[in-house]
Symmetry: C2
Subunit: 334 residues, 2 copies
DNA sequence: GTGAAAGCGCTAACAG
DNA sequence: CTGTTAGCGCTTTCAC
């Protein structure tokens, strides 16, 4: 069933059918009725590929992420997809893994598939070595590139960011205010966003005149999905450093710290205060429940979709928007 | 830059360009070289829409799920996407929510967008009331429909299932073997898969001559993402029923039960044994770690993709495959 | 308000 | 081995 069949049955030209299909005004009520009746009767739907070829779009946007099972990413995907759908766009989801070349290939693939735009989830898509960002600049030459929680200044690249520096600064200060000064910072990523958090931690200490010490900033090299491994890691470094609080780069690491405390027989928060990041489901599954930073994911996602839709609608949109996180105080802090 | 431009610059016809593009043998090495050089030089890529129109496929498959943030679903999406990508397919991800009409609309949309096939994640897409499954039958009339953990017997519908009945039977027996007989079954869904689990629980009891009692099968009406709410729910029904073990429909509910135990001052597993389902990250975030059922998600996903690729390759594929889960024994059982 | 016809960029059958 | 040409199904200008 094609537009020709419909036009024939309705006794009109294909142009007219196309017009009623696309809601053009230039069709008489009668003709429209007749055409609609045929369409209805035949259960006709226009061929999406032909439409794509003609209009040069299929209303599709690509979502790139390293790992969609990451709790933060999974939430972002969900929020973005639902809102994009409301705006009549569909999502091509791509899980690239953390390898730069794979990311490049995948982004390139999406551009070739002619998505209208692409959203990159997480700052791990931006490298410190700007040569490695060439693939992003290239993509931005073709379609708008939207970044969630990554900062990159370039034409046709738009950033929606939560101020991780400020949030971590605030979280660290919150602990400092309780009188605890020996705070371990535990992280698992060296992305832009991750390093901003680290900076926030450092600034908080520095502002109070507390010297920074390398052994208090621990990088966990494994996967943060392996919770017991995080605890084991802390057990290993236990002789080298003594601390009474940990600020973690995400909730997973914080839970690892809780498991560590339990093994050591330390009570939380009396012996060890802990603050996570992301306000994920993990923060309510433990006991006591985790004090954590809500990084306003819904707001960010809402904004990113709004921006995207605006751009594709040829409106002028801000290239960078920064929101503030919020400390959610629960049981793991004094 | 189109195939015409390339053909012109290479001094050949578009057919020849198309041939080298599609790896046809009928091109001399020289000509191929010349064409490839031009393609390289111009950074030419064929127009995906035109290609789609000609071939009637864009190598896209739709993934439908109610909620991609659900831990089980998130894992499924990830595994399927990665494997599909290896087979040169891309994924249109759709989060429908739990409303039947929305599911219908969304599935219909995908068919109209001409995806090659569609994968439905979770048995909540199949209704007991077969009238509500009409949209699935209709879709199956156009493209292969693959079901993850749902059972539906229909032409062009393929099911990959984990035997939830058996797993839950086994889990329940495991507790019964420790001498505990008053076991609460806690569930949160009435999907096919969920009811199979319930059956497994019931069978285990019945086989041992233990009478079934309605108050021992509790349906939690809220969202299983709200862990504290699960605990509160158990507190509420606490006067009505006394039990020393809970078998839960998923890890979330099990964690809720753990929180409940803590509130009540019951120790796990001495006073209360608990078994979850899915072997999600939640099962290792708690203390003690959760005994749970691994429902072989990776295996199921691998199989579903293999089936899908086979079907689209016109191979004969089994319409239903059933795998067995595995009980992962950890700290919440005796 | 309606129709004819020219693309959109590619694939594939057919002819040579 | 290579070129010609007829679609694929729709949108959109341009006449009438």
């Amino acid at each position: 069933m094609t537009i020709y069949d419909v036009s024939e049955k309705a006794g009109v030209s294909i142009a007219t059918v196309s017009r009623v299909l696309n809601g053009s005004d230039n069709v008489s009520a009668q003709t429209r009725q007749r055409v609609l009746a045929v369409i209805e009767a035949c259960d006709y739907t226009p061929n999406a590929f032909a439409r794509g070829l003609g209009l040069n779009t299929m209303n599709t946007v690509g979502i790139l992420c390293a790992d969609s099972t990451d709790l933060y990413v999974a939430n972002a995907v969900y929020n973005i997809e639902r809102e994009l759908h409301e705006n009549n766009y569909n999502c091509l989801l791509c899980c690239t893994g953390y390898n730069v070349e794979d990311k490049q290939k995948y982004l390139n693939l999406l551009v070739n598939k002619k998505v209208d735009s692409v959203i990159l989830l997480g700052s791990n898509f931006i490298s410190d070595n700007d040569d490695e960002n060439e693939y992003i600049r290239k993509a931005a030459g073709e379609i708008p590139v939207l970044l969630l929680n990554a900062d990159y200044d370039y034409e046709n690249v738009y950033c929606s960011i939560c101020d991780d520096f400020k949030s971590t600064l605030q979280a660290t200060n919150y602990i400092l205010d309780t009188g605890v000064e020996d705070i371990l910072y535990l992280y698992n990523s060296k992305s832009y966003s991750a390093l901003r958090k680290l900076s926030g931690y450092q600034s908080a200490l520095t502002q109070r005149g507390i010297p920074l010490r390398a052994e208090y900033m621990q990088y966990f090299p494994g996967s943060h999905s392996n919770l017991p491994a995080v605890a084991d890691f802390l057990m290993e470094i236990d002789r080298a450093v003594e601390y009474h609080a940990v600020v973690a780069g995400d909730d997973n690491l914080a839970i690892g710290a809780m498991k560590f405390a339990l093994k050591k027989g330390m009570s939380i928060p009396e012996d060890l205060s802990i603050i996570g990041y992301n306000n994920s489901i993990l923060s309510t599954c433990c006991e006591p429940e985790l004090t954590t930073v809500d990084n306003r994911l819904e707001v960010l996602c809402h904004h990113i979709v709004k921006t995207l839709v605006g751009i594709l609608d040829n409106k002028e949109m801000p290239q960078k928007v920064i929101f503030s996180g919020e400390l959610i105080k629960r049981g793991t802090t004094l």
